[in-house]
C-alpha cells in the first residue's frame, strides 16, 4: 500500500512536470467547450422557435438536448487523446533503463502497475472535473437535472478507466512512446467499432457478443442517465483485463 502510494506520487510528479498532460487538458477542454457551445446554440435556437410557435416554454429537456449529444461526442475526443496520457508510462521506463531500478527494488509488479494506473486515472478525473464548468455555469440560468448528468460522468469515468488500462498495456509492449500510442489507438478504436459490426451481424450470437463488447453501446446507456449493472460489469471487467494483460507483459519481459 505504502509502495503503491509512493509510485502514484512519482507518476503524478512526472505528469505535472511534463507538458503532455497540460497539452492534453487544453485540447480536451477547448474541444469540449466548443461542442457544448455548439449544442447550446442549437438548443436555444430550437427553444426560441418553439416559444414563438406555441407561445409558451417547450417541454425540452436540457440533458437530452445538450448534454447527451455533447458528452457522447466528448468520448470520441477522449478516444483520440487518452493514449497520449498512457504512452509514456512503461515505454519510457524501458528506454531510460529505470525499469531496472524498479524491478530490482523490493516492490511488486502489481504495485508498479497499480501505481501507474491510479496516477493516470487521477489526471483523467481532474480533466473530467474541469469539464464540469460548463454544466455548472449553465445551472445558473437553466434548471439542470443532476441525476442523469452524474450517470453520464460516471460512464465517462469508467470508460476512461478502460482506455487507460488498455493504453498501459500498449505502453508495456514497447520502448517507443509513439508506437505505444498507435497500438492503444488501435485497441480503443477496435473496441469502439465492434458496435458497428454488431449492426451488420444483427441478432445472431456473434452480433450479440459484438454488441456486448462495444464500448459505445454501454456508454450510451450511462449518457442516457441509466446506470445498468450490465454496463458497470462490462467497464470494470475490461479495465481489469487491461491491467491483467499489462502485468503479464511486464512479468514476461523479465524472461527475455
Amino acid at each position: 500500500m505504502k509502495n503503491t502510494f509512493t509510485l502514484i506520487e512519482k507518476e503524478l510528479r512526472l505528469y505535472f512536470i511534463s507538458p503532455i498532460a497540460y497539452v492534453v487538458a487544453m485540447v480536451f477542454l477547448a474541444v469540449s467547450d466548443f461542442l457544448f457551445y455548439n449544442q447550446i446554440q442549437y438548443f436555444s435556437g430550437l427553444s426560441l422557435r418553439m416559444m414563438q410557435f406555441q407561445n409558451h416554454l417547450p417541454e425540452l429537456n436540457i440533458h437530452d438536448a445538450v448534454f447527451r449529444p455533447t458528452l457522447f461526442n466528448m468520448s470520441i475526443i477522449l478516444l483520440l487523446i487518452m493514449p497520449l496520457l498512457t504512452m509514456r508510462l512503461f515505454a519510457e521506463e524501458k528506454k531510460e533503463h529505470t525499469n531496472e531500478l524498479l524491478m530490482t527494488s523490493p516492490i511488486t509488479i502489481t504495485q508498479i502497475v497499480f501505481g501507474k494506473f491510479i496516477a493516470a486515472l487521477t489526471v483523467y478525473s481532474l480533466l473530467l472535473l474541469l469539464s464540469l464548468h460548463v454544466p455548472l455555469m449553465l445551472s445558473v440560468a437553466v434548471e439542470i437535472s443532476w441525476k442523469p448528468l452524474f450517470a453520464s460522468y460516471l460512464g465517462l469515468f469508467l470508460m476512461g478507466a478502460v482506455f487507460l488500462a488498455m493504453g498501459l498495456f500498449a505502453s508495456a509492449l514497447t520502448e517507443n512512446q509513439i508506437i505505444a500510442a498507435v497500438i492503444s489507438f488501435g485497441i480503443l478504436i477496435g473496441l469502439w467499432m465492434v458496435g458497428a459490426s454488431a449492426h451488420t451481424a444483427g441478432e445472431t450470437t456473434l452480433g450479440q457478443v459484438a454488441n456486448y463488447l462495444s464500448m459505445s453501446g454501454h456508454l450510451d446507456q450511462f449518457v442516457k442517465g441509466l446506470i445498468s449493472s450490465r454496463s458497470l460489469v462490462y467497464f470494470i471487467s475490461m479495465t481489469a483485463l487491461g491491467l491483467f494483460l499489462t502485468h503479464r507483459v511486464v512479468e514476461s519481459q523479465r524472461w527475455k
Binding site: 509502495n3 509512493t6 525499469n99 531496472e100 531500478l101 530490482t104 527494488s105 523490493p106 516492490i107 523479465r254
Partner: protein, 327 residues
Amino acid sequence: MIAVKHLGKRYGEVIAIDDVSFTVDKGEVLAFLGPNGAGKTTTMRILTCFMPATSGTALISGYDIFEDPMEIKRRIGYLPETPPLYPEMTVTEYLSFVAKIKGLSKSDQTTGLALSLEKTGLGDVSNRLIGNLSKGYRQRVGLAQALIHNPDVLILDEPTVGLDPRQIIEIRELIKGLAGEHTIILSTHILPEATAVSQKVVIINRGRIVAVDSQEQLSSHVRKSEKIALRLRRGGAETPQKLNAIEGVLRVTPQSVSGDSESSYLVESNLGEDIREQLSKTVVESGWGLLEMKPLVLSLEEVFLQLTTEEQGVAEATPENKTQLAQ
C-alpha cells in the same frame, strides 16, 4: 556472503553464460573481468533478481535468488550499465523516491539521503535537474542510488565506463572506500581497473569462467611481450647474439630440447610488434635450417588480448597529481 552456483542463461539459441560459479566473502571486492559480450551484465542481472537464470542458482546473504527475491532486493544496491535515472527530477527528488521504494523508514530516508549525497560528493548539485548533469555526475547519482539504503551487497556494472581519467580515479577511490563495509561485485573490461580496486578477480569469456585469481597471481599472467618459439636444425653459439640484433627483439632464451642436432629458442619482442619476417630472413640467410616458428599464446592470454590492458591517461592522473590536473 555471495555464492554463485552453476548459473546458466540462454536467450533462445544464444548461450549468454554457462556454468558460472564463484564465491565472494563479506567485505570483499570482486572484479568481474571480461571482454564485450562475455556475460558480465547477464550474470549481474540474475544476481539482482532482474531476470531469472535458466539453470543453477545463487545465494546472497543466505537467501536464494529464486525463493526470496524480495529479501535479496532489500539487501542489494545495483548500478546497472546505464544509470537508471529520471532526467526530469532533481537529484534530491530522485534519491528520496529511491529511498522510499527501497522500503526505508522516514528517519532512515533522511539519513540515507544525506549519507549517499556526501559519499558521492553530490552535495553541490542536489537541487539540480538530473537531465542537466554531466555524465560523470550522472554516474555518481547512479552510485548514490545504489548506496542509499546502506545495502550489504553492491553490484556495480562497469561503474567507470565513459568517464574521464580524473573521474575514473575518483570513482575507484570511492569504491575502495566502500569495501569492508559492503561486499562488492563490479564488472569491467579493463584489466588495470580490476587489479586496482579488487582483491579477487573472476575472468569470464564467452559466458564461461576462465580463471579465478588473486591480484598478485593475475599480474603474472599479463604478457609484457610477444613470444615466438623457434626451432632450428643447425643453431650455433652465435645464434642468440645474432637474433638479439634484430630490431624489436627484447630477449632470446635458449630452450633445452631432446635430440642433439636441434636447438630451440624463445624469442621475445615488444608487444604488438611482428618480427617474424625479419626473424625468418635472418635464420635463412645464416643457413641455420628453420624447422619451426610459432607465436606462443597461453589460453588465458587469448582472453587478455581482448581486454584493455592499458588505460589512456589514468596512470598519469594518479591521486597525487590529481589536483594539478584539476587546475
